[in-house]
């Protein structure tokens, strides 16, 4: 979770791997969520809600967090 800590907004040049690590994590979890609710009901729906809620929460968090 270190990359979610608040270092300065302008950081050193990042590699492609660094740029795409978090997008990849969110992308994989979204895919899991999109499929989960298709697979079954109950717990599968819950997995789907949580994983698809993640990008929404991150979006809100990044836009609304106070300036350091």
């Amino acid at each position: 979770m270190t990359t979610l800590q608040p270092p300065p907004a302008r950081a050193r040049r990042q590699t492609l791997a660094q740029i795409f690590t978090w997008p990849l994590v969110v992308g994989v979890l979204s895919t899991v969520g999109l499929i989960a609710a298709l697979v079954g009901d109950g717990i599968w729906d819950g997995v789907s809600w949580l994983t698809l809620l993640l990008p929404i929460l991150l979006y809100g968090l990044f836009l609304l967090r106070p300036r350091r």
């Binding site: 740029i19 997008p23 969110v26 809600w49």
Partner: protein, 386 residues
Amino acid sequence: MISGIRPLRRWYWVHKWSSIVCTVFMLMLCITGLPLIFHHEIDHLLHEEVDASVVPPGTPKADLDVAVKNALDKFPGQAPHFLIWDRDEPNALLISIGTSITSNPVNNRFARVDAHTGAFLDSPDVTGRFTYIMLKLHTDMFAGLPGKLFLGLMGILFCVAVISGIVVYAPSMRKLRFGAYRKDRPRIVRWLDVHNLAGILLVMWTLVVGFTGVINTWADLVLKAWQYGQLAEMTAQYQGREIPTRLTPVQQAVDVAVKAVPGMIPSFVAYPGSIFSSKSHYAVFMRGDTPVTSRLLKPALIDAETGQLTDSRDMPWYVSALFLSQPLHFGDYGGMPLKIIWAILDVITIVILWTGLYLWLRRRKPARVARAEAARRPVEGQVLTS
């Protein structure tokens, strides 16, 4: 990184033009799609509906022929095309009725019938409804098949824009952390951050909803292909026959189908002569009961004269692909929480489209000025504007 600049410029070009062409239509699709996520709730709120009787579980169902007769009494001289078990309303049956069996089913009226008493409930004219207008705008803009295919093309461009967006995201983020939002900078910088962040967070969702939407625009073609392919094959020996004058009771046809396809339940029946059957058969479309298998249909063809099963096959892959793409587009497969999530993601997609449009409009002029300046000072290196 010098060698990387040229292909990158090409990706910028792809991202810019695929977006420009589809953005207005995508905005329309996102706005009309938003109420469609909740079409059931909205219809319930805006329109009076006769409720089906609520019965304890295990109550026997009404005879289907009685139910159909009660519906047809309200439409004398007309013909039933389809008998549908509504998955969202298990206490009611829908009967789709056309002026004749050969009339275009697009103009059919739906009669709702109580599933347990067989009593006629209502047959609302949905064509003036808010959700109907949204649906028509969303699927074909009131332009029929050409409208659908056009929107499908816009959907493909949208997918291209999302994929090229991933590529051009990288150089934008070279010096920024994931999730950076430079809120003290001018609007063009802030909105670039808003655009990049939302775009990259929603990549999978926008791609899946975009592409399954494209597949849905091919629904008419897919069903035509099935009619002339598998259905024609299954009914080949009945070709050239007319609709029998005396039909087997539909209840009997359904009973035979249920016995022939164990473990599945009926989803809908296509009457002989309707577009989803031959002139000699009832086609009873069976479905499973998990979220996935409930979308996959298996037709059982029942000879409408003898009441015998003549054939039953799984539908071909392209029809299954269409049926599976539907929940992934509508977001109606994970209860109300998933619908709400779908709606929020839809709104964020509107933000992506809107900020993207703004960024393009704002950059057009500076780009021209920059090019003029670059022409005056050709020695200076090209700097990507992002």
